[in-house]
Point group: C2
Chain length 229, copies 2
Amino acid sequence: MRPKLVLFGDSITEGSFEESGWGASLANHFTRRADVILRGYSGYTTRFALKIIEKTMEGIGGDEKSPVTAVTVFFGANDAALPDRRHGLLHVPLAEYQKNLKSIYAYFKKIWPSAVVIFITPPPVDDEARIRLLPEDDTSGLPERTNEAAGEFAKACIAVAKECGSPVIDIWSKMQQVPDWEKSTLSDGLHLAALGNKVLFEEVLRELKAVGLSDETFPADAPPVESLL
Amino acid sequence: MRPKLVLFGDSITEGSFEESGWGASLANHFTRRADVILRGYSGYTTRFALKIIEKTMEGIGGDEKSPVTAVTVFFGANDAALPDRRHGLLHVPLAEYQKNLKSIYAYFKKIWPSAVVIFITPPPVDDEARIRLLPEDDTSGLPERTNEAAGEFAKACIAVAKECGSPVIDIWSKMQQVPDWEKSTLSDGLHLAALGNKVLFEEVLRELKAVGLSDETFPADAPPVESLL
């Protein structure tokens, strides 16, 4: 038996196999023990996630020999784009974000009843970096995302996780505990730098372990070479 | 339909999702298009690979919705360990190495008839680094692997690939074309440094493309967010 971990989310999941990425770190950590399956969709909100969830998950399988043991659900960074700013078309109202998260949870529990669904809140936003990185055609001087809005979505995500009885990683709070978090954990005020990836990787490991999933409980799929000599 | 790429090999495959790793680079390159499945076994030779191939591949599946489209077979670095040196127990005679590679090929063609099997030769060895890194209890002053032996296994691997009508990546030759290859492409005279990983990643991409598999031919599994707005 070789379990699967599925990573479902937006660009911060899609990019998780880039240099220092938290997804690649998970795959490396669980080498010989579990498969890490990447389902990341840049720019996607919970609203769009629901449109593609059936199609993008159907080939993953998840039978007895290779059950899906855990899924991370990591949306909100785009839902929280402010409605009256340049990425306003992405905005999803807070109540719909919560409803959508519950629908995503329900879908995973339907197709993989024994899987643990781990919610991840949106990460914090460095408002100043977002202003500094505005494109030339945006003369508003206003960030399209703010840390305050991300924080509201983070709280909403935590509430949904509690309601579902699911673990949740409050990466919005965790990352802000890192010294100089705006620059040390984020690459552009929104996406994760190497240190942000490391913080998230360790939090995912911790949550997996808390629900009984670790490199001690996943047996290796083949013996160490020393035992074959 | 979302294809799978399976990476089967020894420690240079097992470590391919470490920082800068060629496996993680493939997963990142084919994000939203294909799943990269890691089956790397540190210290393994072709002889040991045959003992575990059935068990380690059985959960991968490979049905119509998620066919295995390509497999890399990357063994030889341990088979080529010299018989009379400290890793001598790993040594596999050249003729058996070839026979084993053919058996691995036959197994993959049996379970996934439409998959392309891409052979990868063992990489070059920096004899001097291997001597420098001998443990204290080995006072022989002799490397346990040599570039000459690796080259013989590389030639043998190429011959098998030709016989099978399969593509082959001669990474033993390719890496030696890089300036200062001993230090620039290898981390310890045997395993790949960041540049060695990059060379291999690009060679795998090239071979996949040569058999019609690229990010142009694998369709994305979900539309770009812009088309949903």
